[in-house]
């Protein structure tokens, strides 16, 4: 929707200029062939997601960290080399750019090839992210043969076109996603899909239901589904709303609910690592039970065993249940 696009644009802000500094590099746990392994996450600083430069998703503030001016190939490779120093018995490497790795305007072809060639057969699996429009047969095939296993993650956020258009402003449709997911399947490349929990303008209950609906629609295309509860990033539409008490981050109970119900209808691997979980800008509960619930969510992500959620309870769950029951009647956001 045009008006939504311009609202998002007007909230974006000018960006930092550090073309030779990578954004982040850290180790996390992940699962490979049923075993828990170490994964290295590298986030490269690029000129930014092409969609964000043009318009932008309503919850994404990654454009804040992009580079204002030119980023040369050398700068990108330099960033990679610095981050790569942390590689140490990692089985998985995830290269993120806060945009699309496969976008040659963001990561030139030469850089894409060099990075993957370098990782080559040293690691078991490489994961990169991309919007559907940059997933192109020739590109993927080239990269696929450079590594042992390639996985491409797509930020679909929701399988409902109305939400994509009028809430998230994603800039592509569910059908675009399906087309590329099927392509990747035919190429033998694994697919991971990000589902957003609680896009703006939805009630908590709608957030849960639509996330579960999305799961049922994408399970056949996506081996892994990663559930991302909204966290409030700077200069985003959700921050604008959040500051005015017109948006509330989801409850951790909602994340648990989505995971439980999705597991019962999907064979895909379901994971979630709530950014800023327990904090006021992330998904949270009452403050007292957050740590415990986050721990269960992490465990579930690794084990896929829903029994970790059994017995989880806190008084605040009643308030959450009230919210699910009553929020639609209010025609507006009610403060927590």
């Amino acid at each position: 929707m045009r008006e939504l696009q311009s609202m998002i644009n007007s909230i974006q802000r000018k960006r930092v200029c550090k073309p030779r500094e990578y954004l982040g590099a850290w180790t996390e746990s992940d699962v490979l062939n049923g075993k828990v392994v170490r994964a290295l996450v590298i986030i490269l600083r690029t000129k930014g997601c092409r969609w964000a430069l043009k318009s932008g998703c309503s919850m994404c503030g990654y454009i804040n960290d992009a580079v204002q001016d030119e980023v040369k190939d050398e700068d990108l490779l330099y960033q990679y080399e610095c981050a790569r120093k942390k590689l140490n018995r990692h089985d998985i490497v995830k290269i993120y750019t806060s945009g699309s790795f496969l976008d040659i305007e963001e990561i030139p072809e030469r850089v894409q090839l060099e990075i993957l060639k370098d990782l080559g057969k040293d690691v078991q699996k490489v994961i990169v992210e991309s919007r559907p429009e940059f997933i192109v047969k020739e590109r993927v095939e080239q990269l696929k043969y450079l590594v042992n296993e390639l996985e491409i993650a797509i930020g679909l956020e929701s399988a409902d076109n109305f939400i994509l258009r009028n809430s998230i402003n994603k800039g592509f449709t569910f059908e675009d996603y399906i087309e590329k997911a099927e392509l990747l399947r035919d190429l033998g490349v694994a697919v991971k899909t990000y589902i957003l929990i609680k896009p703006p303008f939805l009630t908590e209950k709608e957030a849960i239901e639509t996330a579960v609906n999305s799961t049922s629609k994408i399970s056949k295309y996506s081996q892994t589904i990663s559930f991302n509860p909204v966290n409030i990033q700077s200069n985003t539409l959700v921050e604008f709303l959040w500051k005015r008490n017109e948006y509330a981050t989801p409850w951790l109970w909602s994340v648990v609910e989505v995971l439980q119900r999705s597991k019962s209808i999907s064979d895909s691997r379901l994971i979630s690592d709530p950014t800023a979980g327990g904090g006021k800008r992330g998904a949270h509960n009452c403050g007292r039970c957050d740590r415990q619930v986050l721990k269960s969510i992490r465990e579930f992500s690794l084990t896929q065993d829903i029994s970790v959620f059994k017995g989880l309870y806190c008084e605040c769950k009643e308030r959450w249940l009230d919210l699910l029951d009553l929020e639609s009647f209010a025609f507006t956001q009610l403060p927590r």
Binding site: F201, T203, E206, T210, Y247, F331, T332
Partner: protein, 611 residues
């Protein structure tokens, strides 16, 4: 569904909403879900799916972000409305267009009043989306509700997530018809005990200040749980709702509002903003006469009916032609002033002088400022009650100074006698400035009713009035009636008195011309009532109601009204016309705007019909 207004009190109204059963408005939509049960006495239910219940049901079907299948029968159906938050002004138009496509019967208003011009008119029900966020800014809230009411005529207005015992009164006073039980539920969940004074945390309550059916079963506040607290909240809110409906029927909602707003400064702001910034719109619906007006707060001073009296003085009032001397008198607790002991004493002093016809008695008072004797019966001059402590506050002083100086500037008095006491402190300078020190006398030394003061008054009156040609009592009576007729009807009122004779004894006076009665004044109404003859004399320049082509049998109903003189208010004396023929005279039961807009209800109670 259809809706008809039954009673009015300013912008507030009671009505009948015909659903599967008829329900009264204003009303509360009680939410009923798996987790929360509606009040047992609820008259309308608000649900999110079909349930088994005889009472009228309204379905809220969520938003278009989650597609749902709807099964079941409902009296009112809220389709999946698209609503963007209040701050997303750029997105409201998109949502409004989207919603317009899915239904026209129920309209979701985005709460941005600049867009109301293009709203669907004539819909049955308007939902003020974002009411809850708007409420936090009193000015925006009041402006939005008033703008909405201006654009939607008689339709029902529903403000979701608002409506607690302490604020329902002012919300209804603003013109809102429907609320829901959401705040009652949320507060019960938070452990808040609601009352007309606001809310109490049950943890902080030493005793339970309620003996409703739920509270009387409890020994202490620690026994409150969600269920029984919710039940108490339901009971106390519904009681207040009934109280408000009663008040509307009795035209005393304003006093209740002034009382309830004390619970929150926010509410006081709202009333002040309504009075100061929306006088004109409120006045369009304010009846011309009520039984009583209690001045109990600063806010009372700015009531529409009080401001209107003051403005009408400036717009229509002309002093009796023969008077030469202005006599300022204090007001009295007993009304009409003439019937009080103090004024009887003043009267005697006045009658003692030969030429009392040249004396113009004007009472100085709060809240009205000045009341010329001949208008002392006109609402609210004989109906108001005010706290008197002998101390005037600065706003009252300013108001009285303003009106008195207007009177002095627009009327030629050669002398002014002030029989006031404390008021002289703030009026002397003004009066002396207008007529000159040498033409201004103060006759009250200690109290206005003391022997000394009365003697001084009588002496001074005699001294001054004997200089003038005699004005007869009957001539003066005619002039007084002319003054009243002008005040009530505007310029055409003069025609009633030209060449007429006034018979009877004040306050029960009758106007005759050539042996035919044109009208009369009665104490209770305080206004002139007309005969058919009187109606013809007034003519078609004012207070006319034009009706359709039908034979007038009983009352005139709104549906039969073609057009009406815009100044007509409920309680006004009106003349019924068909073309150039007078068909009847009577009392308006609603304002001109309502007569023209409504399709139902009694517009004029006819007193005399032509054959």
């Amino acid at each position: 569904m259809s809706f008809e207004v039954t009673d009015r009190d300013g912008l507030a109204r009671t009505g009948v909403w015909s659903l599967s059963k008829s329900v009264k408005t204003p009303n509360i939509l009680f939410i009923n879900t798996e987790r929360v049960k509606a009040f047992s006495d609820a008259e309308i239910l608000l649900v999110d799916k079909a349930i088994d219940d005889d009472r009228p049901k309204i379905l809220n079907s969520g938003s278009p972000f989650l597609k749902r299948e709807i099964l079941g029968e409902f009296d009112v159906f809220f389709p999946p409305f698209l609503l963007y938050p209040h701050s997303c002004k750029e997105l409201h138009k998109f949502a409004q267009n989207y919603n317009r496509e899915i239904t026209k019967n129920v309209v979701l208003v985005q709460g941005d009043y600049k867009g109301f011009g293009s709203i669907v008119k004539d819909s049955e029900l308007y939902i003020l989306g974002n009411a809850y966020s708007l409420f936090l800014n009193p000015r925006e809230f009041v402006n939005t509700v008033i703008a909405l009411r201006k654009n939607v005529g008689q339709g029902l207005i529903y403000a979701p997530a608002l409506g607690m015992p302490n604020n329902i009164a002012i919300l209804v006073y603003l013109g809102i018809d429907l609320f829901d039980s959401l705040p009652l539920i949320i507060n019960a969940r938070l452990g808040n005990f609601l009352s007309i004074d606001g809310k109490w945390s049950v943890k902080e309550m030493s005793e339970i200040p309620c003996s409703c059916s739920v509270c009387s079963e409890l020994d202490s506040a620690s026994e409150f749980n969600f269920e029984n607290l919710l039940m108490h909240n339901y009971i106390v809110t519904f009681n207040e709702l009934r109280n408000i409906r009663n008040a509307i029927k009795d035209e005393r909602l304003r006093e209740i509002v002034e009382s309830r707003i004390r619970s929150e400064p926010l509410l006081v702001s709202m009333l002040r903003i309504l009075d100061f910034e929306h006088y004109k719109f409120q006045e369009m619906f304010a009846p011309i006469v009520k039984r009583r007006l209690k001045v109990v707060s600063k806010e009372s001073l700015y009531r529409v009916d009080i401001i209107r009296f003051q403005r009408r003085l400036k717009e229509r009032y002309k002093k009796p032609a023969s008077v030469r001397l202005l006599l300022l008198l204090p007001c009295s607790a007993k009304k009409p002033y003439s019937f009080s002991r103090s004024h009887a004493l003043f009267r005697r002093a006045l009658m003692d002088c030969e030429n009392h016809g040249v004396v113009h008695e004007v009472i100085v008072t709060s809240p009205l400022g000045i009341v010329p004797r001949e208008l002392e019966l006109f609402y609210p001059a004989q109906q108001y009650d005010i706290a008197v402590t002998g101390v005037w506050d600065s706003e009252e002083i300013k108001m009285i100074q303003d009106l008195l100086s207007w009177l002095l500037k627009h009327s030629r008095y050669e002398f002014v006698i002030s029989h006031l006491s404390a008021e002289n402190d703030f009026l002397s300078e003004l009066i002396a400035g207008c007529v000159g020190e040498e033409h201004f006398y103060v006759t009250c030394t200690d109290r206005p009713t003391s022997g000394t003061s009365l003697k001084q008054l009588a002496e001074r009156l005699s001294e001054i009035t004997q200089c003038y040609d005699k004005v007869s009592g009957s001539e003066r009576l005619r002039e007084d009636m002319e003054s009243l007729a002008l005040f009530q009807f505007g310029n055409p009122g003069k025609r009633l008195i030209e060449g007429s004779e006034i018979k009877g004894r004040y306050p029960n006076l009758r106007i005759f011309r050539d042996e035919r009665q044109l009208g009369m004044l009665t104490k209770e109404r305080g206004m002139l009532s007309l005969t058919l003859e009187g109606g013809k004399v007034i003519g078609k320049d004012c207070y006319w109601v034009e009706i359709d082509d039908f034979k007038l049998r009983g009352s005139v109903f709104a549906v039969g009204v073609k057009d009406a003189y815009s100044e007509i208010r409920a309680g006004d004396e009106v003349i019924i016309w068909q073309g150039n023929e007078v068909r009847g005279v009577g009392v308006a039961m609603m304002s001109a705007k309502e007569m023209v807009e409504c399709r139902r209800g009694e517009a004029v109670k006819v007193r005399h019909r032509s054959e």
